[in-house]
């Protein structure tokens, strides 16, 4: 403790202690509240999109399927191509889902667009680019390329049109056709409809994963997601 020359610091140490206790208290309170909010947002019951969305919206919105039509469970993933957590999902979680559940015919994976906007200014353009690749039958390859190489374009000062075009060339797409699609408003209505569908389903962040309409509580935690899929499969 401080001696005579330094003055009595006890009150100051008490102040520091109060600050620590207040900070820890706020963090704990915040976490408890956050847990409640997360549990409140996460659908405890399946979402019936067909019943809640406008019929026209349902017609306009369309995800991209991967896996057998006869698969027992449907896993729908709403992503924003400029979202780092979606890049993590695409490079670390998705390959495991495909290997364990899609290729074995157990589930059907559906990619949906949910460009968040805000600071993710190129998310919408990227979603359209992926749909332009889908026109040539290479959606999943392009989807993976966009997310795996996200850092190469997500922080670009100018719209990364040329980068997107180079990915199309890398994947062997018809460049002229792809460029024509990207440099138009093609698929803007589709991406918008998918976004609106996500909003109606209660999507507020990405990636958001629905397993037979039930929202996953841990899309980027493989152990959690795998357990949820297995539960839906009755395993």
């Amino acid at each position: 403790m401080a001696g005579k020359r330094g003055g009595n610091l006890n009150w100051f140490y008490l102040l520091l202690t109060v600050v620590v206790l207040t900070g820890v208290g706020l963090m704990v309170y915040g976490q408890v509240g956050r847990g409640k909010t997360r549990a409140g947002k996460a659908s405890m019951a399946p979402v019936n999109l067909a019943a809640m969305a406008e019929p026209d919206l349902i017609k306009a919105a369309r995800g991209v399927n991967r896996g057998a039509e006869s698969a027992r469970v449907e896993v729908m993933v709403f992503s924003d191509y400029q979202c780092p957590a979606c890049a993590y999902f695409a490079t670390n979680i998705e390959p495991q889902i495909v290997k364990e559940f899609v290729e074995t015919g157990k589930i059907r994976l559906i990619a949906q667009d949910f460009p968040l906007g805000g600071s993710h200014i190129y998310g919408f353009l990227a979603a359209r680019a992926a749909r332009c690749a889908e026109d040539q039958g290479k959606f999943w390859e392009y989807h993976h390329q966009l997310l795996a190489l996200q850092n190469a374009w997500a922080y670009s000062r100018v719209p990364p049109v040329e980068t997107f075009q180079s990915y199309a060339v890398d994947l062997g797409l018809d460049a002229a056709k792809f460029n024509g699609c990207l440099n138009s408003d093609a698929h803007a209505d589709l991406v918008t409809a998918n976004y609106q569908l996500g909003q109606q389903a209660g999507v507020t962040g990405t990636p958001t994963v629905f397993i037979d309409g039930r929202q996953s509580l841990g899309p980027n935690d493989w152990d959690v997601l795998k357990a949820e899929i297995e539960r839906a499969l009755g395993l």
């Binding site: 401080a2 001696g3 005579k4 020359r5 330094g6 003055g7 610091l9 100051f12 102040l15 520091l16 600050v19 620590v20 900070g23 820890v24 963090m27 976490q31 956050r34 847990g35 997360r38 924003d80 979202c83 780092p84 957590a85 979606c86 993590y88 968040l116 906007g117 805000g118 600071s119 993710h120 200014i121 850092n151 922080y155 507020t204 962040g205 990405t206 990636p207 958001t208 509580l217 841990g218 899309p219 980027n220 935690d221």
Partner: protein
């Protein structure tokens, strides 16, 4: 300013108390961000908030070390040094003054760089990062009196 009479014991230096208090708040903010980065505070997803964007951008890691961890170490050193500098035998120690001054200048410079990244490169604002930048600025202000101590001794 007049010097305190020899028989009158001066109080603890207010600027060092300020540094300790600010560094403690900064330490808690950096600790919170580090826990978030480690995934201890729930699932990592992107929302419309800027903190996720900033935290998961390539600039959230500096020289291979996550920035929040650098914050924990930096604020921890400032807190420990300031508390040590409040002890009577270290009041006039030049090493304490040097560490506090260097730490404050480095922290301010690094925070300014990170704030510039948020504005010009990442295009997203994280309120916790901004709070930390504010603390780094106040820390620099509190550390300025240490220049005198460095010169005096």
């Amino acid at each position: 300013m007049t010097a305190a009479p020899a028989d009158h014991a001066p109080g603890p230096p207010a600027n060092r108390m300020g540094i300790a208090l600010l560094a403690l708040i900064g330490l808690m903010i950096a600790g919170y961000m580090a826990a978030y980065m480690l995934g201890l505070l729930g699932a990592i997803i992107c929302g419309t908030g800027g903190c996720e964007t900033v935290q998961q951008s390539p600039w959230a890691v500096f020289l291979g070390i996550p920035v929040p961890f650098l914050g924990v170490v930096g604020y921890g050193v400032m807190l420990g040094t300031a508390l040590l500098g409040l002890q009577p035998r270290f009041l006039a120690d030049r090493r304490i003054a040097a560490v506090l001054l260097a730490g404050a200048v480095a922290g301010f410079g690094f925070s300014a760089y990170l704030t510039w990244l948020e504005a010009a490169v990442i295009h997203a604002w994280c309120r916790w990062c901004l709070a930390s930048a504010g603390i780094a600025t106040l820390l620099l202000g509190c550390a300025i009196p240490e220049v005198k101590k460095l010169r005096r001794s």
